[in-house]
């Protein structure tokens, strides 16, 4: 091919080389396209293209090839070579450098965007012992293994009581709009796992059932957020059984592991099938070595869980100095609802300091930190040795709460100089509780099973109902106020003395029970 045959070749090649090189530099400058091996190759090709446009090289490129046969064909072949080279460069540039080819560019990047989920975890502190909801064996933010609330032994009617301070904390980053207290379902743990897709014929448990099951009863198996209900088979299961036969069970919807939670969701309907259950003490569990165990006593039976049905339970909240009775005598639904936020508790106390002086009138009793409540108008007795006086609390200002250290009383002139060894007893409270057959553990279980919870709304004042309209009941960690991240409860039990009913059937028994604390986003 002659030079005159391609009059536009030179400027074309020149412009292409300059343009391609400039584009590459511009793209590299934006940082949008990395200058990797491919880009290097493109640059080389482009540079070569530019070189071709130089006069000497162009002369070479357009000179006839001696090996080529005709005058026309050599020029054509070189042109083809160059064009092929240019096409290659274009192709590589398209594939390897497809970034931004505008000269003027502008760009912003919102980098580091993320989605972060909050946490909602519950800390159940009995005393100083923490128990986190996420620490449970079933990996589903349900921890069924928190510390026992109380464990009084060797209880005698009319005498024995026990109370524990419990702090419930929201340890998460989210507010809990719902906070409630319930009795648990009667429960067990799975001893043999279930296989996904396989229909079980029975549930094997790690330990014996604490309540009897009959055909048609419902049990639920849970693990790691998976739950599946099953129906008890015709044979049912007795207390102590470690096998629950199933009726036409569906295939397992998950591979439930050993120690999965097994809950009797048809339970908590009567004292016979509550979460609270009784066993008789044995020679190994009787609280005094050598003493007659309950197991020996022919008049003692665990049928109907009689101790669960006799022992009284209360749950008193005291958060930021505000009190409310959530369960027990004084709670809504009990025979004597308190209007001042007090559960009836079997309260005794000791005088603090040097006590009182005989003959000197007193209107305020200074006492050691109260372990229970005292109501306005109550009758108190103060006893030391054979000395005893009767006192009446002030009808208006006489309410005293757990942890209080003073009790306002009607003017009292002691007949004896009582010291800190004296015992102050709220006889009104004891009398009220000794006649109480209602506020029992069994009744709490049947009234407040998991599908009938006590909604723990934030407190407002001792005399005002909790705020049921509140949108937060247990705030996120670190939040303050009555709906802040922690709320404090006192859970107690008392074995009342029934003045006109026999109680020997309550001897030598152990009642075991639990409480559920539940929060929800």
């Amino acid at each position: 091919m002659k030079r005159s045959n391609i009059p536009h070749l030179r400027p074309l090649l020149y412009l292409f080389g300059v343009g391609a090189s400039g584009t590459l530099i511009a793209v590299g400058g934006t940082g949008d396209v990395g200058f990797g091996p491919i880009d290097a190759f493109v640059a080389v090709i482009t540079a070569a293209t530019a070189v071709v446009t130089l006069p000497s090289v162009r002369a070479w490129a357009l000179a006839p090839d001696p090996s080529e046969g005709t005058a026309a064909s050599p020029a054509l072949n070189r042109t083809k070579k160059i064009l092929v080279l240019v096409m290659l460069a274009g192709t590589v540039a398209f594939v390897g450098g497809h970034g931004t080819f505008a000269i003027f560019t502008a760009e912003t990047s919102n980098t580091g965007s993320s989605i972060s989920s909050g946490t909602l975890v519950l800390n159940d502190m009995v005393g100083a012992t923490s128990c986190w909801s996420y620490g449970g064996a079933t990996s589903d933010n349900v921890n069924t293994g928190c510390a026992p609330l109380v464990s009084p032994t060797n209880m005698a009617p009319g005498v024995s009581t026990a109370q524990t301070r419990l702090t419930i904390q929201n340890g998460g980053s989210l507010d809990a709009s719902v906070f409630y207290l319930t009795a648990p379902w009667p429960r067990a743990t799975l001893g043999t796992g279930l296989t996904l897709g396989t229909a079980p014929t029975q549930l094997s448990l790690t330990s014996g059932l604490t309540t009897a099951l009959v055909s048609g009863d419902q049990v639920t198996v849970s693990y790691a957020g998976h739950t599946q209900p099953f129906t008890v088979g015709l044979a049912g299961a007795a207390i102590g059984a470690t096998i629950i036969p199933l009726s036409s069970a569906p295939a397992a919807n998950y591979s439930y592991l050993v120690n999965s939670r097994v809950e009797v969701t048809s339970g908590d309907t009567s004292p016979t099938n509550t979460d609270c259950y009784d066993v008789a003490t044995t020679s190994g569990t009787v609280p005094v070595a050598g003493a007659t165990p309950g197991q020996t006593l022919p008049f003692v039976s665990t049928t109907g869980n009689p101790l669960c049905a006799a022992a009284l339970l209360w749950v008193q909240e005291q958060t930021n100095g505000v009190n409310y009775c959530w369960a027990g005598r004084g709670a809504v639904g009990s025979p004597a609802v308190s209007t001042v936020g007090q559960c009836r508790t079997p309260t005794t106390a000791a005088l603090s300091g040097t006590g009182v002086v005989a003959g000197t009138p007193v209107t305020t009793l200074n006492v050691s930190s109260l372990t229970g409540n005292i109501a306005a108008g109550d009758t108190l007795t103060i006893t030391q040795g054979t000395n005893q006086d009767t006192i009446t609390t002030n009808a208006v200002t006489g309410n005293a709460y757990i942890n209080g250290t003073t009790v306002s009383i009607n003017s009292w002139t002691p007949s004896f100089s009582y010291t800190s060894a004296a015992v102050v007893k709220d006889t009104s409270a004891f009398n009220a509780l000794d006649g109480d057959l209602t506020d029992t553990i069994s009744n709490f279980d049947t009234l407040h099973r998991p599908n009938a919870p006590v909604a723990l709304y934030p407190l407002t004042s001792n005399t005002t109902a909790p705020n049921s309209a509140a949108t937060v009941s247990l705030g996120k960690y670190g939040s303050a106020g009555n709906a802040g991240y922690q709320r404090t409860f006192y859970v107690g039990v008392y074995l009342p003395a029934w003045s006109s009913l026999p109680q020997n059937q309550l001897q030598g028994l152990i009642s075991t029970f639990g409480l559920n604390w539940h929060i929800q986003q």
Partner: protein
């Protein structure tokens, strides 16, 4: 865009909206957390006792009938008189009684009473029984004495130190119920015992009318937790 394509796009959008309005309400799962204070226990104690009369076998309170329970009315008699063990005026009979709290609870109180009081009857085999009444005033004499670490204590008739026959059985026989019982103070602690001596005597100056007469009575020992 052709009208046909536009219709297809709008139809697709409507379907998505409908699905959304149906499906979304089912997607309100929220975070929950739960703890359980399990294994709280309430354990009641036991209060049982046994009675050993005159060194015999223990008689356990809980081995009585199931109802009312923990009441055993079949313990050994204090004394069974026979022809070889008849009583004579001025010759006392003393019966040691040991009471043990077998339970785990301390007894806050021990009381004793005579359920049914005292009943007289002619001595079995007596040929010509008198007409007197050992259960009446002037009849059989009676005391209850406790042996304590500090020496004897007379509970009935109440007196310091050892008892003497200064009171009739009839006086005590009026204590027929728990409500009328003689309070013997705080009972034995768990696993502890208290030892008593029951004294009986025909008065030294007994009338002949008491010949051939027998007194039948029971003593009930009652512990309260």
């Amino acid at each position: 865009m052709s009208r046909r394509k536009l219709k297809l796009v709008l139809l697709g959008t409507m379907v998505i909206g409908a699905l959304g309005s149906i499906a979304v309400p089912g997607v309100y799962a929220v975070y929950v957390a739960e703890t359980r204070n399990t294994q709280a226990t309430v354990s009641s104690g036991t209060l049982t006792m046994d009675l050993v009369v005159n060194g015999g076998s223990p008689c356990y309170s809980y081995l009585g009938p199931a109802s009312p329970g923990n009441v055993n009315t079949n313990c050994d008699s204090l004394v069974t008189f026979s022809s070889s063990a008849e009583m004579y005026p001025g010759e006392p009979v003393t019966i040691p009684v040991t009471l043990r709290n077998d339970g785990s609870l301390a007894a806050s109180d021990l009381a004793v009473y005579m359920p049914g009081g005292c009943t007289k009857a002619a001595t079995t085999g007596a040929s010509s029984p008198g007409t007197g009444d050992p259960c009446a005033a002037g009849g059989m004499q009676f005391y209850i004495q406790e042996t304590t670490a500090s020496g004897p204590k007379c509970w009935f008739p109440a007196a310091a130190g050892a008892c003497s026959f200064t009171s009739d059985l009839s006086s005590f026989a009026a204590r027929t119920t728990l409500g009328l019982s003689l309070d013997l103070g705080a009972g034995p602690a768990a696993q502890q015992t208290r030892t008593f001596t029951i004294g009986l005597q025909e008065p030294i100056n007994a009338s002949n009318t008491l010949q051939g007469q027998a007194a039948t009575f029971a003593l009930a020992w009652h512990l309260t937790s």
